[in-house]
């Protein structure tokens, strides 16, 4: 494949990261308590409950894509609310305060429309946690998009998290570092960018996401280049 930008002088710098969870001391047993803590908790806790689980300890086969929805379904007995919370796409909110506002809107609506929701009490608390993320440079670089199939299989899950998940809130367009980098190589890679956009990271482990990224890049680049 010829690139309109073969002199691209911005190599892809591979970062890695490690996450550790931190307790906030906030616990909710009822929907009203959950709502009030969502209103007041540090904003990085909201981030953690949408994204942090992917890098932290946890089971890969989650029913819903965020901790709030899981708790409402499994412990509070609010399946309808869980479904409503689970359709929130955090990528749509570049400002996390907007994401917090959306959560509050949905929960307030539930509390306003259903009196029973005020009286439900879970035996298991929702524990608000946040995370400390340490990001470091691996020193590894990719110079060409064609390097992707060779480099991706060796990425740590921390690198996958940083470049494919965390990037969504760092980049204005809510994409990921791979698509962002590929966009600097012109339209030749627009097909690959579209295919990468189709990978849903929420219901897989990070190692499965890595495998999927590798497969998509290998298929595209082999076919296009070959």
């Amino acid at each position: 494949m010829s690139s309109g930008n073969s002199f691209n002088d911005h190599p892809f710098s591979i970062k890695d990261c490690a996450l550790i969870a931190v307790a906030t001391g906030r616990r909710a047993y009822t929907l009203t308590e959950l709502r009030n803590h969502i209103r007041d908790v540090r904003i990085d806790s909201i981030y953690h409950h949408f994204w942090g689980g992917l890098l932290g300890v946890g089971f890969e086969e989650l029913e819903f894509n965020n901790d709030f929805a899981n708790w409402c379904r499994k412990h509070l007995g609010e399946p309808a609310l869980a479904e409503q919370l689970s359709v929130i796409d955090p990528v749509e909110y570049t400002d996390l305060e907007g994401l917090r506002g959306k959560l509050l809107d949905i929960i307030d609506e539930r509390l306003d429309s259903n009196d029973i929701s005020h009286f439900l009490r879970s035996s298991r608390a929702f524990e608000f946690t946040r995370s400390l993320l340490v990001i470091f440079d691996t020193g590894r670089r990719m110079n060409l998009p064609e390097d992707l199939p060779r480099v991706l299989p060796d990425l740590s899950t921390g690198s996958v998290f940083y470049h494919f998940i965390d990037a969504r809130r760092r980049l204005e367009d809510g994409s990921d570092d791979f698509r962002f980098w590929l966009s600097s190589w012109g339209e030749d890679y627009s097909g690959l960018r579209r295919r990468l956009a189709g990978i849903d990271p929420f219901f897989s482990s990070l190692s499965q996401v890595r495998d999927e990224l590798t497969m998509v890049c290998s298929e595209f680049l082999t076919r296009e280049v070959g």
Partner: protein, 413 residues
Amino acid sequence: MNGLLEAYAEVAGRQVISQLRQLAEHLKGMKVVHVNSTRVGGGVAEILEKLIPLSNELGLETSWEVITGEDDFYQCTKAMHNALQGHPEPIDQRLLDAYEQTNRDNADKMRPKLEEADFVFIHDPQPAPLFSLCPERRGTWIWRCHIDASRPFHPVWRYLRRFVSDYNASIFSLPDFAQDLPHPQYIIPPSIDPLSDKNIDLPEEEIDQAREKFGIDPQRPLLLQVSRFDRFKDPVGVIKAYRLSRKFNPDLQLVLAGGTATDDPEGEQVLNEVKTAAGDDPDIKVLLLPPDAHRTINALQRSAHIIIQKSIKEGFGLTATEGLWKGKPIIGGDTGGIRLQVINYHTGFLVNTPEGAALRIRYLLHKRDQLEEMGAKARKFVLENFLLTRHLREYLTLMVGLLHKADYRIELG
């Protein structure tokens, strides 16, 4: 790559080791000391046994100190352990005096090393007062609580809190164990060592020998609970569950294998209660194993069809993790860290009563395909979440974060 790191790379994957190396690069040459109260027996000692050499291979200067005391000290710390787990019993002043005096005596021996360390990890309540007994300390001190302290007996917690509140940070195994403390509380679940005698793959002959030695029939289903003889592990409840299930599975066998730890004075009394409950049933084996019987425990776990961990209170439940690693579903008490490991219909079942455990035993023995499938999923779950390498990565992350006073995220050059 060095020998130990190379061996872990074989099990956990090369990316995992490469990540440890890069994190450790920022901590090279730093002096790290871990202090606990026993060198053998119990999950903490088992973790430290490998965490220390692995840290050293990564370039940190890590060492392990053990606090020692007399009988009154261990009685006090056992009572403290029970109280943190919610047992409502005050501790005699005589025992508390022994606790404080023992810490003063140990501080006299350890002070120079602790005061010059860059990081000090104090494990559990036993050595907690060492912080205030090392006034010239220069490093960061972290209190690591391995106990389920979610609903502590408050008079004892208030007493202990005096000693731990001034630490720079604390670590709990689960968010619900965290307490009201004036410093950051990090959440780090513990881990198992896949290369230890307790977890390494064993030749089939060795497993056969263990079965033969303890009179276990390989043709009949076997339930196993491995844990200290401690009321919080509910060994008598396990016997009840076995008896309820035997009505439907008359061939069932049960092994209750317990070790002892030097800091647990109640073990013998509970062991006698268990023997009484077992009576003269030849299909119940109550085994008191020495603290170094790791390969025997490993062989028993590999012999079992289902592993039980029917705790009423549990810090984390590493014996459950070990069982999952051997590809066995766990029937576990709905408490503490077992909740993080046992996912209904995926890696086992959470239960609240002997009746609940009996129901799940029947279910799994009836659906052998599902038993196999859950076992495979269980091993993968541990591989991705509960190996020593993940544990060490989180310790390194914590140290790097504390070193740079990072609160939320930090990007290192």
